[in-house]
């Protein structure tokens, strides 16, 4: 085993859980998240020598993951899902009891993938607008509008959920 392979093993061990958790917010499904993180690490390993030399590997891995996620969306795998009765029925009853931990995942899933990715980067990963722009490969202004439209839509949907439930 070489230096570079050991470097990757250490990197993967350090980043794996964080990638899975972010992937879970993007996909809303634990198994899909595991797969997405796995595919991401596979691609990072293939390019590891260049990656380790050229840039911050963790940032590179995020970009790879977002590319896979947003690329697959075109094949409709991670498209937004409408909020249905079924989703609500899974909750534990009244609006007060709605667990905002599960709720936030359902709300994220209603967003188009790029809005979802922007919200996850800014509000979960706490990345700056500048970093998020680099990771999403778009202008800072686009990050701002994606995030604000995403949040607005989530807040509206959250209110609707509450009113419909009552």
């Amino acid at each position: 085993v070489t230096d570079s392979q050991e470097g990757f093993a250490a990197f993967a061990a350090a980043e794996h859980a964080a990638l899975v958790r972010a992937a879970y917010l993007l996909t809303g499904d634990r198994d899909t998240a595991q797969d997405l993180a796995h595919d991401t690490l596979v691609r990072v390993l293939i390019k590891w020598r260049q990656v380790a030399r050229a840039e911050v590997p963790a940032a590179y891995a995020r970009r790879v993951m977002l590319n896979i996620f947003l690329g697959r969306r075109r094949r409709q795998r991670f498209a937004e899902s409408p909020l249905t009765e079924g989703h609500l029925a899974e909750g534990s009853g009244g609006a007060e009891a709605v667990n905002d931990r599960d709720e936030v995942v359902r709300l994220l899933l209603m967003l188009p993938p790029r809005q979802r990715a922007a919200v996850v980067l800014r509000h979960y990963e706490q990345r700056s607008e500048h970093e998020a722009a680099r990771l999403l490969d778009c202008p800072v202004g686009t990050v701002k509008s994606l995030t604000s439209r995403g949040l607005t839509r989530m807040r509206e949907a959250a209110r609707e959920t509450v009113t419909e439930d009552r």
Binding site: V1, T2, D3, S4, Q5, E6, A9, A12, A13, H16, A17, V20, R21, A22, Y24, L25, R30, A33, Q34, H38, D39, L41, V42, R43, L45, I46, A95, D100, R101, D102, E103, V104, V105, L107, L108, V119, V120, H123, Y124, Q126, L151, M154, R155, A158, R159, T161, V162
Partner: protein
Amino acid sequence: MTLDVDSATQRAAEAITVAPLDLQSIQRDAHARVLARRLRWTGGTAAAALILLAAGAGMAGGDGPRRTGTLLAGQPIDGVRTYNGLVHDHVEGAVAYPQDPPVGGPHGIEPQTCGVYTRPVANTAAVHSLEHGAMWIAYGPDVPQADVEALTRLVGNDPYRLLSPYPSLGGRIALQAWGVQLFVDSAQDPRVREFADRYTNGPQTPERGAACTGTAAAVDDPHDVPAPRTGDASAPADR
């Protein structure tokens, strides 16, 4: 209802159970992807060649397919031992191979970069090169210098040929490709060239066309594993 997206996403993400990292499956899939990419590259050419070959055989008459088979397989080279059912696992650390030098089986993550080495290379890396199509010539310390020079010329710059000393061989020369092995006493033995021609990227290669590049590290004893690399491995360090 207010929605605190920052803390809600934190709690949602932290709430899931993350399965442990499976480094081996990541390595396996990365390997497979690289391989698939290379096959896609060479696949078109190979398919065209096969079609031409099949067409040629067809035109040659009723005994075409049989002739093609003979053409590809050739007559066995006298003295070549063949081994089937070798496994392809990637392992860390040394491997005790049943053949010495080894002809296949579990191997290290990185292949040995093909080329001419004047110090031994690790068996685990050389076996990975065999898997990718390398024809590996190992020679003992008592092999005459003139023979070593002849073998060096034979290996030349071929990207699928590997030459390295092998202490336990004494005065013998061992030629290996995946699953096949030939021992000779002299580089002048005509079977050396036959073996090299037939088994450099030979038809029995499991991952034919995969690159014979990886580590360029030399070792003191081939039964060791390569030391961590310090420099770039684009060319054998000990040419």
